[in-house]
């Protein structure tokens, strides 16, 4: 009889660790849900922190603008370049603008924007709030009779939810411009023809779906960054963990949401 497991107690130890991880996972899920509900309870009840929302929108936009411009342009150029050989095999290079527009507007623009914003904005929110938690600035707001959740969390989540769709639209146009440069260089297509071919296959559902996707991504990035920072543990290590956790969790959720939204919008096409 193999008594190894019962003798050294490794299996029960692993089992209890696994149980603990499961418990922690569901506890985190519960806490995130509570956090989201609190956001909806507080965000739309006066007094509003409009000035801070506008300031945060500016911060989110400025923080990501350069990186999004460069990445969007490169995505447009590369995607067009990589798609050409496949279409050439069937003599269908003229479909390139349509293919590029569908790919960029339906999927790439919101996804690329969300991933970049997760890194730039999500980590920054996580670190900023984490640092405020560690240095007791959030406690100081609380004991002075103000509402730190409203001032710090609601404003940032609203800012990402409002700004990321705008950034995503911008990314789409920059990527299309990158695609146009590649197409016009190879096929000599004019700007007018390119634009006509770009918008021809796109439907109203595509624009709405893309917009909804960006709103959901923006909300996710904001809420995850704020959750990680607002609940960060004491110490500088906690700040690092909050920033890191904000990026990883937001990116993971963005991919899952992408899959779900693509499935749902597929039913309406």
């Amino acid at each position: 009889m193999d008594n190894t497991q019962s003798i050294n107690g490794e299996t029960p130890k692993k089992m209890s660790k696994l149980k603990q991880s499961f418990a922690d996972f569901f506890l985190t899920l519960y806490n995130i849900n509570k956090f989201i509900l609190r956001f909806f309870r507080e965000a739309f009840v006066p007094p509003f922190e409009l000035k801070e929302v506008v300031r945060q929108c500016y911060e989110v936009g400025v923080r990501s603008f350069t990186l999004i411009s460069v990445t969007g342009f490169i995505v447009g150029v590369i995607f067009t370049k990589q798609s050409r050989p496949s279409l050439s095999q069937f003599g269908a290079e003229s479909w390139l603008p349509s293919l590029v527009s569908i790919a960029i507007m339906r999927a790439l623009a919101p996804l690329v924007t969300a991933l970049i914003a997760s890194g730039k904005v999500g980590s920054s929110i996580g670190a900023e709030l984490g640092s405020m938690r560690v240095t007791e600035q959030i406690d100081a707001m609380e004991v002075s009779g103000t509402k730190p959740f409203k001032y710090l969390v609601c404003t940032r989540v609203l800012a990402t939810t409002l700004t990321i769709p705008i950034l995503s639209t911008y990314t789409g146009f920059v990527a299309l411009f990158g695609g146009y440069l590649n197409v016009t260089q190879n096929e000599g297509t004019t700007w007018t023809t390119f634009i006509q071919e770009v918008f021809e296959p796109l439907t109203f559902t595509d624009f709405v779906a893309s917009l909804i996707k960006s709103i959901v991504f923006g909300f996710t990035i904001g809420i995850v960054g704020c959750y990680q920072g607002y609940n960060s543990s004491k110490g500088t290590e906690g700040v690092g963990k909050a920033a890191n956790g904000a990026v990883i969790t937001a990116m993971f959720l963005v991919f899952i949401e992408e899959v779900i939204i693509v499935q749902i919008t597929g039913w309406f096409r």
């Binding site: 240095t135 406690d139 002075s144 009779g145």
Partner: protein, 257 residues
């Protein structure tokens, strides 16, 4: 500066604590504390690091929830109070943090305005400026109004932290280690400021410290927290008139015996 004699109103406790218990996981920090803070007095809570002094004032301000016991602040039971009532109560309590907890993305002016504009929404710009200038003047730091917290010294940060609490005219002040990490001269200045606040704003205060000079200069009454309970309470002289080995080293270390 020698502390001016203040007559505390012993018939009127502004904070009344009975049987307060608080534990973190298996470690019991506060083990059934009884305490009264009377109107107009400075009460110093002394104790070793990790004995739950800061936990006590965090419970009083509603930042932590007690496990058991009753904590009554200005007539409200902290354990059963609603969120809105707690927020209204907090305006009447000033909390000076150990590391000052200034909002480091805001100037001194914005730090002071932050609680004011959110709690007194009907104030005009002129009234806000007057209030800010008045508290800055009270802590003697008018010249720092447009500076960022990172540009201030430790002592200045403490003073601005105190000014930020004073701007709401609190009835109770809670000081968490007000002299920690400061040089002796700045410590004396902070002690003087604590006494000045008591006289000028007629506050009742709890001062958490293990600095006996601070305790002697600011305290009307001292309460010594040992093993999760207040073992000795009285004037400075009464508390240290003992051969208790848990108390004596405090005095000997601070006054280099």
């Amino acid at each position: 500066m020698k502390k001016a004699a203040i007559q505390a109103d012993h018939s009127n406790p502004v904070i009344s604590i009975r049987g307060l218990k608080k534990a973190f996981q298996d470690y019991s920090v506060l083990r059934g504390i009884d305490l009264d803070l009377y109107q107009g007095e400075n009460l110093v809570v002394l104790g070793r690091s990790g004995t739950g002094k800061s936990v006590l004032i965090k419970i009083i301000s509603g930042l932590l929830k007690p496990d058991a016991g009753q904590v009554e602040v200005l007539g409200y039971n902290i354990a059963t109070i609603s969120e809105d009532e707690l927020q209204a109560l907090r305006i009447r309590i000033g909390f000076s943090f150990q590391n000052s907890a200034l909002y480091d993305s805001m100037t001194v002016r914005k730090n002071l305005e932050f609680p004011l504009v959110r709690n007194r929404r009907n104030l005009t710009r002129g009234e806000i400026n007057t209030n800010v200038e008045a508290v800055l003047d009270a802590v003697g730091l008018s010249q720092t109004i447009n500076q960022m917290p990172s540009e201030l010294s430790g002592g200045q940060r403490k003073r601005i932290g105190i000014a930020r609490t004073l701007i709401l005219n609190p009835e109770i002040m809670l000081y968490d280690e007000p002299t920690a990490g400061l040089d002796p001269i700045t410590c004396i200045e902070i002690n003087d400021l604590i006494n000045e606040v008591q006289q000028r704003y007629n506050t009742s205060s709890i001062i958490i410290t293990h600095d006996l000079t601070c305790a002697k200069q600011t305290g009307d009454r001292i309460a010594m927290l040992l093993d999760g309970q207040f073992q000795r309470t009285g004037t400075f002289e009464e508390v240290f008139a003992t051969e208790d080995e848990r108390v004596k080293p405090f005095y000997d270390y601070n006054f280099i015996k």
